[in-house]
């Protein structure tokens, strides 16, 4: 018997959604009710998520589904459903908790915004959409929620619509992810065509279960790659990563939500969810689809880390670091380490939310300054932010032993080292580790150390903003307990096994390697930036390279000159064709129809109507004539009878 929560999983996204609708209907003036409503709904969702977490905790490898028919067309019933397994449960808890922290932080960060209540409505909607993605047991429902996530991101990135850059960034995010979604949708159609179901698990009949996988056979590679297109768009993988840094135009809590709990996590989650399609027919854990995933991930991870080195906007650095970390997760999924990838996703959510909220606190405290070259020396002015940000930075860099990011990253590196496809990704990821430590050190030095380069007085943020930071920092460190190789509880939980404690396993060669690499990255950063001015030392030494990286490898310009130029040309050509060719056809068809109409109306008037009129006139005249006989005079009738009888008699006499 399924626990109560399985059939009522829909409540978890429904609560924030209801809160969002309520807030929208409350109106602009209700500021604190809006925030309270959003936070309350999120707390309720968090409680429900924990309720959903409990049964998966009790039984290793717990999996329960609740399927039902949505609608029927012809003989096909479209079935959707909810799924509860360790992956869902862990994601639910993470999303609701991180969202809650972000919501609380937003009450401080957005306190002066005129559209405060609308902001909370959108935030709740965003969280609801993402929770919907996580609980769905049907690729169709998944896709619906997935698109809702896209819509919510569009609304939030373009929240400050009066800023043209924000509007453009929102549009870019929406359209870029849509490109991936076309592939995703084709993949869904193909999957439905070859397996006849879109449910993930359905007591042996689901698309991810043995029977359906057998039916799909060799087309699984193509289906998996098409679905991967969607993940590439949503999770900002190369070559569709360009929207993610631009999404920084939104308010900082939105960036935190997009980069940590929702949106970008959806892509990685999607690949993890349909992993059986990717790994179908694997030889030594290598399939063509997974190889593509690995290489896309590796390229993304290294490229984004390189670009992050040369960025000056505090949020953009974090944005590229997210892209890089997502690449890392994709690599992990690609080499078969689904659990390792998801564990990194969960840990990353906490420390990336921490970093973004920290950045938000810095921006808030230094009067909406985002350029790290005009910060510096904030260590003493904002002690709480500094301490929590440092924890986030060390988690992200992967400083060993204490910080959650280190353990998960080590796990991933371990997985790539044993991949049978190629040794290259492993070494590239090791390079990525160095780069990550390097650019985070650069950012730390720029923001918190050295002299103050701005005359504005910065101040520490109010408590409503620092408490979420502290909560997330505690989680970032505390999560390590269940991540270490000695007791990899979360990893084993996701795989459906129970973990055992072995202290000896904590010492792995990878621990030393990553410690060495992180140390090298940090040392390099400190060495280069120890006496930092307004110009970047790297820019002085290697201006060409720095320019190349600072301009994001010219990728936006490349797209602008190729894809956009091409589409603009196609649009112009279509317009010309429309005006001169198709218009002519349409006009000709119209004229022909007009002529036919004239002829037809003539025939109507002259022939058909006239004939009918004539018939009617004849009938009328006859009627009038005959009606005169009907005079009512009895004697005339009698006379007629007499004449008639006489005639008949005479006729009879004459004939007989």
């Amino acid at each position: 018997m399924n626990p109560w929560i399985v059939s009522n999983l829909w409540l978890i996204p429904a609560l924030p959604l209801a809160a969002s609708l309520c807030i929208l209907s409350l109106g602009k003036a209700q500021r604190s009710p809006a925030a309270l409503l959003a936070i309350f709904a999120q707390v309720a969702a968090l409680v429900l998520a924990i309720v959903a977490f409990l049964p998966t905790l009790a039984t290793p490898g717990f999996r329960a589904v609740h399927n039902f028919t949505w609608f029927t067309f012809g003989e096909n019933a479209v079935r959707i459903g909810f799924l509860l397994d360790p992956l869902t449960a862990a994601m639910l808890v993470m999303i609701t908790f991180v969202s809650l922290c972000i919501f609380v932080f937003s009450t401080g960060y957005m306190a002066e915004d005129t559209n405060f209540s609308r902001f909370f409505a959108y935030l709740s909607f965003f969280s609801a959409a993402m929770l919907g993605v996580v609980i769905s047991n049907s690729l169709l429902l998944f896709f619906v929620c997935w698109e809702l996530v896209g819509l919510a991101s569009y609304l939030l990135i373009g929240f400050w619509i009066h800023k043209p850059t924000a509007a453009a960034a929102a549009k870019k995010a929406f359209i870029t992810t849509r490109i991936g979604d076309i592939g995703f949708f084709l993949g869904i159609l193909w999957l439905y065509g070859s397996s006849g179901t879109l449910l993930f698990y359905d007591d042996g009949r689901g698309a991810l279960e043995a029977a359906a996988l057998l039916a799909i056979g060799s087309s699984a590679t193509f289906i998996a790659l098409l679905i991967f297109c969607g993940a590439v768009g949503k999770s900002g993988q190369f070559p569709l990563h360009v929207w993610l840094p631009d999404a920084m135009e939104g308010p900082t809590p939105v960036s935190a939500l997009i980069h940590a709990a929702t949106m970008v996590a959806a892509g990685v989650f999607l690949v993890a969810r349909v992993f059986p399609l990717f790994s179908l027919g694997a030889v030594d854990g290598v399939t063509p689809a997974l190889t593509v995933v690995v290489w896309v991930g590796v390229i993304t991870a290294v490229m984004a880390a390189l670009i992050a080195i040369a960025q000056d906007d505090i949020k953009r650095i974090l944005a590229y670091s997210t892209v890089s970390q997502l690449g890392l997760m994709m690599v992990s999924l690609g080499v078969g380490g689904v659990a390792a990838g998801i564990v990194h996703l969960l840990a990353h959510a906490f420390f990336k939310a921490l970093l973004f909220l920290g950045a938000g606190s810095i921006i808030h405290g230094s009067h909406h300054e985002q350029d790290i070259r005009r910060m510096g020396g904030l260590r003493r002015l904002m002690p709480v932010t500094f301490a929590t940000y440092a924890i986030g930075m060390m988690s992200l860099s992967g400083v060993p032993l204490l910080f959650s990011g280190a353990w998960t990253k080590e796990e991933i590196l371990h997985g790539t080292a044993h991949w049978h496809g190629s040794p290259v990704p492993h070494y590239l990821l090791l390079l990525g580790v160095v780069l990550t430590a390097f650019y985070m050190t650069r950012q730390m030095i720029y923001v918190f150390f050295a002299q103050r380069r701005s005359t504005d007085a910065a101040h520490e943020s109010p408590r409503v903003m620092t408490i979420p930071l502290i909560a997330l920092a505690v989680c970032s460190v505390g999560l390590s307990v269940i991540l270490t190789p000695a007791w990899p509880w979360l990893h084993e939980y996701l795989l459906g096994r129970s973990a055992e404690f072995h202290l000896g396993r904590i010492i792995q060669p990878m621990l030393f390697i990553s410690a060495l690499l992180v140390g090298a990255g940090i040392a390099l950063g400190v060495l280069l930036y120890r006496s930092v001015g307004t110009t970047d030392p790297l820019a002085q030494k290697q201006p060409a390279l720095f320019g190349f990286l600072a301009n994001r490898m010219w990728l936006d310009e490349l797209y602008g000159n190729t894809v956009l130029r091409l589409s603009a040309f196609v649009a112009l050509w279509s317009d010309w064709m429309d005006r001169h060719v198709w218009d002519g056809f349409v006009g000709a068809a119209g004229t022909f129809a007009q002529l036919t109409g004239i002829v037809s109306s003539g025939v109507d008037n002259a022939a058909i109507n006239a004939g009918a009129d004539m018939g009617a006139g004849g009938a009328r005249d006859t009627g009038r004539l005959v009606s005169t006989w009907h005079s009512g005079q009895v004697q005339i009738y009698l006379r007629a009878v007499a004449v008639g009888t006489l005639t008949l008699l005479l006729l009879y006499a004459w004939l007989a």
Binding site: Q633, V634, R639
Partner: protein, 105 residues
């Protein structure tokens, strides 16, 4: 002089023609009724004549039909007179030219 069949038939035809003429030309409803009665009488006379000059005049077949016809004609005359009175009450006239409408008002 014994009557012959043709003489009786001539009388009957004359009676019929007189009745027909009355029914067609008189304007007074009661006279029309009288004309109709005369035509009926002519028909009854025909019956009696054909019976009297038939090969078997012993059986009173024809005279029976005539008596029947007279009885029914009496009933019919009563109904006809009643109708005439009803029409008169409604139209305040018995001139058939005036009531050319078969409806109540």
């Amino acid at each position: 002089m014994t009557p012959t069949l043709s003489a009786v038939l001539v009388i009957s035809a004359a009676l019929f023609c007189i009745g027909l003429l009355a029914a067609l030309s008189r304007r007074h409803a009661i006279f029309i009724l009288i004309g109709i009665e005369m035509m009926l009488a002519a028909a009854a006379l025909n019956f009696v004549a054909f019976w009297r000059f038939s090969p078997e005049p012993q059986q009173p077949t024809g005279v029976m039909v005539a008596i029947f016809a007279i009885a029914i004609a009496a009933a019919e005359a009563a109904v006809g007179l009643a109708l005439v009175i009803a029409v008169y009450r409604h139209y305040r006239t018995t001139n058939v030219d005036k009531f050319d409408r078969g409806e109540g008002s």
